[in-house]
């Protein structure tokens, strides 16, 4: 009899334990660390002579649509990602330019124009609350500097008008990228290497226009990177012509910057509005999802415990307790479903928000791309003619004709 009582007490304890665990699980909230600290742009302490300033080309980012996590697929709007892939690199280029650590920093319309340093990026997440992007940096010789994932979770505070006036809500990411670039350059590059990188990018440009002359100045080393084999004379007339053309290439790229500037200005307001609203919805959605998940787990556990108590209970009290546990578990599971339905509403709201912004920005993206492609086509046509003339000049100088 006493053994029976002991078992019952043990079972009652287990049921209580499972119930408590379920309560704890339900009560438990996810804890997200949000950064409110602001990382400023670091400016190089020493004055860098102009000939040692590297020009930076920031490529249009990869929207990262292929890398969207499954759970985010429904709330990720591809068109917005595409719009962001032109917005974010512009802000990065602007930040780098503002840092004064580099030469010219431009958002590149294509990969045809060689720059000293290239930055490629992929947007991995962007929902108003968090932003995550992968940044890859290399130089004109083909050497990879580094690849790093940057992410930032911001607080609602960042969307307050007073803060928004200061900078983009995710400005910290761009500042961190800028600071990392500076650190890498200062730690890993000597002045000679910087000069070499600059020379390689100039020779690359020259090779693009006059391969018959400049091919021999560059070679690929064992690491697969470009290296200089010889240098053209500073007074080389062909080099002078190529430099003239490069000046014009910069003019072309500058013109494209104006396109992007217009685009960013047009996009900023609707995009900020979307991000602020998306911020709230995303947080609510995540909380509801997590809450639903916890309720499912807890409910299931309670149901299983209750079932065990009800079936193996030796007395009426245990069986009753088990039955109550099953009922409570079932209720938890049902509430989990309720939360899921609530989450669905917020997901729909997010989708609607996305579509709204999509309607706003998609034509702008289209217009931007259209103008850029058209201008690029015209410029490339002119470049092709110049290439022919340079080839003719070379041929006549060599006596080929």
């Amino acid at each position: 009899m006493s053994a029976m009582t002991a078992l019952t007490v043990q079972q009652a304890k287990r049921i209580l334990g499972v119930g408590l665990l379920a309560l704890i699980l339900v009560a438990c909230n996810t804890h997200t660390v949000k950064s409110t600290s602001y990382t400023p742009i670091v400016q190089d302490s020493q004055d860098v002579p102009e000939e040692l300033l590297l020009d930076v080309g920031v490529a249009i980012f990869d929207p990262g649509i292929d890398e969207v996590a499954k759970r985010d697929e429904e709330t990720t709007n591809p068109e917005i990602r595409v719009a962001e892939s032109r917005y974010a690199p512009y802000l990065l280029a602007e930040t780098l330019q503002r840092s004064a650590n580099w030469g010219i920093v431009r958002l590149m319309p294509n990969s045809e124009s060689p720059m000293d340093v290239y930055i490629n990026g992929t947007i991995l997440q962007s929902d108003g609350e968090a932003m995550q992007m992968r940044i890859e940096v290399s130089d004109s010789s083909g050497r990879e500097w580094y690849t790093k994932v940057y992410d930032e979770v911001i607080s609602q505070f960042s969307y307050e008008p007073s803060q928004r006036q200061q900078a983009d809500p995710f400005q910290v990411i761009y500042n961190k990228i800028s600071n990392d670039l500076l650190e890498y350059r200062n730690r890993n590059l000597t002045d000679e290497q910087i000069v070499e990188i600059r020379t390689i990018s100039e020779l690359l440009f020259a090779r693009r226009f006059s391969p018959e002359v400049f091919d021999s100045y560059l070679t690929t080393n064992r690491q697969g990177n470009l290296a200089i084999t010889a240098l053209p004379a500073e007074t080389d007339p062909v080099l002078q012509r190529v430099r003239d053309i490069r000046e014009r290439d910069f003019m072309f790229i500058d013109t494209v910057q104006d396109y992007y500037a217009t685009y960013v200005r047009q996009m900023r307001l609707p995009y900020d509005t979307w991000r602020a609203l998306s911020y709230d919805e995303t947080i609510t959605l995540r909380e509801l999802r997590d809450s639903a998940k916890r309720r499912f787990i807890a409910g299931t556990a309670v149901v299983l415990g209750g079932l065990a108590a009800a079936t193996s209970g030796g007395n009426y009290a245990t069986q009753t307790g088990g039955a109550i546990g099953v009922g409570a578990g079932a209720y938890l599971i049902k509430s989990g479903f309720d939360k899921q339905a609530e989450a669905r509403i917020h997901m729909d709201a997010l989708e609607e928000l996305g579509e709204s912004l999509e309607n706003e920005v998609a034509p702008r993206v289209f217009s931007l791309d259209d103008r850029t492609i058209t201008l690029t086509g015209s410029v490339e046509e002119q470049y092709a003619q110049w290439k022919e003339v340079l080839a003719e000049i070379y041929a006549s100088e060599v006596g080929d004709i």
């Binding site: 602007e94 004064a100 003019m251």
Partner: protein, 389 residues
């Protein structure tokens, strides 16, 4: 009767004189024949110039020189233009005809210069013709053309001089061809006939080439030089560089190509600067008051080297707020065109080429529903969407 005898005596007395007069007549005839030969040879030397040779008879040196210069086949149209103009001034007295014809040829040589340069470098034809900014170079080619056509008269010596001056402004080719023109102008003044005689001496295709023209063949050193100069400049303008391979030295050719490059720069600069101006105006309209940051980016101020770090103010927001409010009124400058969504069956168009994009853009911006649908239909036809379906 006495009178009759006297006359017969006179006749007898004059009998011994005829041989002298015959000799003189023969000499005159031979001279005229020689002259005829030279003129016929000059005309025969320019077979490709139908009317210019005939006009050359009236104003010989200029037309003959011009006719000889275009001897290369491509310039026939240009030369015919100039000859047409010379013929169009028939009333002018012979003394003026030289001037007018030379002026005419100068005027005619403008198009011929263009067409000539177009003909020179096949790939460049469009550029030369289309480059609006290449006034200087056009002047240069005009002047050479005028030099070729105008050399006969003293008044025209100015034009080559001007031409040389205008060419001198253009680095490279201008200087050399300019000097050639000067030589040609001075030489032409007294070498009108000498040229023709030179042609009579037979240079079948000697007009074409600097190198193939033997200096000694022509009457005078200067004459030969300027005939060369004319030939080269004429052919250079009208034709030259096409077959100019043989005619021009590598340096000259390089200079001509450099000139083309420069013209291309001018065209490009004009194009890109106007495009920048437009883009900056739009950028400013989109939010000039906007974001300091973006202002830096778009930077109106930035100008060509736009964004200096200092000019890129932080940012954005206040302006963005302002932007929103200012956009509607900002309409005054350049309101963004209203866009209409694409029909359901139209894909996003990311892979469209330029034509398809233009069609799409036109359709999206078209307020008239019918026209818009027509544009979309055109888009479908172009991209083959309709066919797929």
């Amino acid at each position: 009767m006495d009178f009759m005898q006297l006359r017969s005596d006179k006749g007898k007395q004059h009998l011994p004189l005829p041989p002298l007069s015959r000799l003189i007549a023969l000499a005159a005839l031979s001279l005229s024949l020689v002259a005829c030969q030279s003129s016929s040879s000059s005309s025969s030397s320019s077979p490709s110039m139908p009317s210019s040779s005939s006009s050359s008879s009236s104003s010989p040196p200029s037309s003959s020189s011009s006719s000889s210069s275009p001897s290369s086949s491509q310039s026939s149209s240009s030369s015919s233009q100039s000859s047409g103009q010379t013929q169009s001034t028939p009333n002018s007295p012979s003394s003026q005809s030289g001037q007018q014809s030379s002026q005419g040829s100068a005027a005619g040589s403008q198009p011929s210069a263009n067409s000539g340069s177009a003909g020179q470098q096949p790939g460049q034809a469009g550029r030369d013709g289309s480059s609006p900014a290449a006034q200087g170079s056009q002047q240069g080619s005009q002047s050479t053309g005028s030099a070729a056509g105008s050399t006969p008269t003293g008044t025209l010596s100015n034009s080559p001089g001007q031409a040389a001056g205008s060419q001198a402004r253009l680095p490279g080719a201008g200087s050399q061809s300019g000097s050639a023109d000067r030589a040609g102008s001075t030489g032409d003044l007294d070498s009108g006939t000498s040229q023709s005689s030179g042609g009579g001496l037979g240079r079948p295709s000697g007009d074409y080439s600097l190198d193939t023209l033997p200096d000694g063949v022509l009457s005078g050193g200067s004459g030969s030089e300027d005939s060369n100069g004319q030939a080269s400049s004429g052919s250079g303008d009208g034709v030259a560089q096409p077959n100019g391979n043989g005619a021009m030295t590598a340096q000259e050719r390089g200079e001509v190509l450099d000139e083309q490059l420069r013209r291309g720069y001018e065209t490009f600069d004009g194009f890109i600067l106007s495009e920048r101006e437009r883009a900056q105006a739009e950028s400013n309209a989109a939010g000039s008051s906007a974001a300091g940051g973006s202002a830096g980016g778009g930077g109106g101020g930035g100008g060509s080297s736009s964004s200096q770090p200092q000019t890129m103010p932080e940012s954005g927001a206040p302006p963005s707020a302002v932007l929103a409010s200012s956009l509607p009124p900002g309409v005054s400058s350049s309101p963004p065109p209203e866009t209409f969504p694409a029909p359901e069956d139209i894909p996003n168009g990311r892979d469209d080429d330029v034509v398809a994009r233009q069609l799409r853009e036109a359709a999206m911006n078209e307020p008239d529903a019918q026209l818009r649908e027509a544009l979309w239909q055109e888009y479908r036809n172009y991209t083959g969407i309709g066919e797929d379906q």
